[in-house]
């Protein structure tokens, strides 16, 4: 099961990297969405996969159960999902504004902050 998950995470990462290498921001956005999920699955897998067990320690003098799900990765992923979701929402709005204001979604055409053909500073006084 871990091997399958590892392969799946690998596929997610390669898709995300491929999309990120595009010049078009809309593809990079999709890449960001896939990347977030790739990391979530990675954390989930590295918390060990346990089949069908509650995340509860049985009460009793011994106080330990034989099998128990690890609740911490789920808490971590929940945090990461919330963060990556808010990031994605922000990026979506930012991209849309960029498309409206700059009239392009091609990063090569976005030269407003760093215009082409800048001159050197004066070399004499």
């Amino acid at each position: 099961m871990e091997i399958l998950m590892a392969l799946l995470v690998g596929v997610f990462f390669s898709v995300a990297v491929y999309l990120f290498l595009s010049r078009h921001i809309i593809r990079m956005l999709l890449g960001a969405a896939v990347l977030g999920n790739a990391v979530n699955l990675l954390i989930f897998t590295s918390g060990r996969l346990t089949p069908e067990a509650p995340p509860i320690i049985a009460t009793g003098p011994a106080g330990t159960a034989e099998i128990m799900a690890n609740p911490l990765p789920q808490a971590l992923i929940l945090t990461a999902i919330v963060i990556s979701f808010s990031f994605f929402a922000f990026l979506l709005v930012l991209t849309y504004r960029a498309y409206q204001e700059l009239e392009t979604d091609d990063t090569d055409e976005m030269r407003f902050a760093e215009p082409r053909g800048q001159t050197l500073p004066p070399l004499e006084y």
Binding site: I43, G47, L94, T107, M110, F112, A113, E114, T119, P121
Partner: protein, 523 residues
Amino acid sequence: MASPDTYPVDLSAAMITVPVHLADWLVVAPVALCIAAGAILMMLRKTTWMQAGASVVGLSLLVVVCGALLAHVLINGTVTMTMGRWLPPFGISFTVDILGASLTFVASIIALAAGIFGADDVDNSGRRYGFYPFLFLMMAGVIGAFLTGDIFNLYVWFEVLLISSFGLLILGSEPRQIDGATKYAFLNLVATTLFLIATGYLYGVFGTLNMADIMRKAPEMSETAPLLTLTAIYFMAFGMKAAAFPVNFWLPASYHTPRIVVSALFAGLLTKVGVYALLRVLIMLFPAERDMLGLVIAIVAALTMVFGALGALAQTDYRRLLGYLVISGIGVMLAGIALASMAGLSGTIFYAVHSMIVMTALYLVCGLTARIAGGFSLAEPADIYRSHLPLAALALMLLFAVSGLPPFSGFWPKAVLVKASLDVGEWWMAAAILLTGFLTTIAAGRVWILVYWRARQEADDGDASLVRLKPMVDYLPVALLTGLAVLLGVYPEPFLEMSQTAASQLIHPAAYIDSVFPAGGAE
């Protein structure tokens, strides 16, 4: 089903039963204050007339609280406070040593300076769209990152400061800003995702996220677990955050786009959080793996500082030039991490404090200069020496400081780092630091001559001298920061000692572990 009270449960085995000492509440007070102030100002954001005043009061309070925390740590040693009363490593700990406390204190001073400056620099629409709430929330992120003792929590604080910095960066919505923010946002997203990937692997290896707990387990795991890979991913992620050479192009693309007070805050705080995280992870958590990466870090450091200074030489825009100087400074800080000796690390810490103060002040000076000159170009003479002598004097002092010339704050950490490199026989690192100092001096000197010293060709000195700067909101923050830079330069002894203690706490983290797990603690 057995009722819960069938078996008596010993809570003291898993929970902290003694109430937190009153002084220890200082550990979370700065973060709590920032979040509370940010939330309140967010609710009051339509009453723009009181935003600046209330923020300056809040930020002054923050400086006092952070100063008290630093004093507490200096007197009582490393302090830990664990949330939710769960014993570490299960509860999230805030652990404050001298490094964290001193950087927090300096960060709060910078925020105060920026808050005062913002009273004049940020217009009503900037206030209505939340300059001050974002400032407070970003400070919560920065301070939380400096204070936390849990690596996943560090990630969360990184995200808090990042999302607030987006808000600040985009304030104004000019095409330039949207362009800069797009690049900043995507590249920083990649960096924090790398950080999260490394943290996921780290959790898989250690089963814990508490830094003190990781430190206890790392030596025995170094043979069996892929710790070198982990360390390399962390170096990549934090290097990107700190703007180290091959992955720093988001900084010159974005730092000159927002309003100047925001640039000043970013230059003072954000990249230094990356350096701080590198110190924590590479030096404290994985020193053995860092030794294996030492050469890579050294090459990255040398390239960052030299290319930063060369980039500064080529700029015509004052703000973009300062962006490259920020990068160059990051290279100097990385040099200490590459050496990893006590002297080198104390140089790094001292340089970080110097760079936070001086870069913020330089951006503020740059903003005032542009207000007088009417633009940021170095090509147009502004004749400020004649019309605004105090500003020209402050600028000269800060440009000396950033070049590393005595008697200002940049000199001592660079001297310490050069000596530390020569001590371990890394002559080329010392040469790189000195070459960087030389190039930076040329770049800084050129700025001063072109912008402040050079007289206008035609005698139309009417318009420049008409621009009046307000002493309280415009000069005061710059003068405060410049005063600190002079203080660090002429009386460095206590600060050098403090940075040495901070460095020794990083190299020998016994006190840090003891603070989280008193008397050995539960394994």
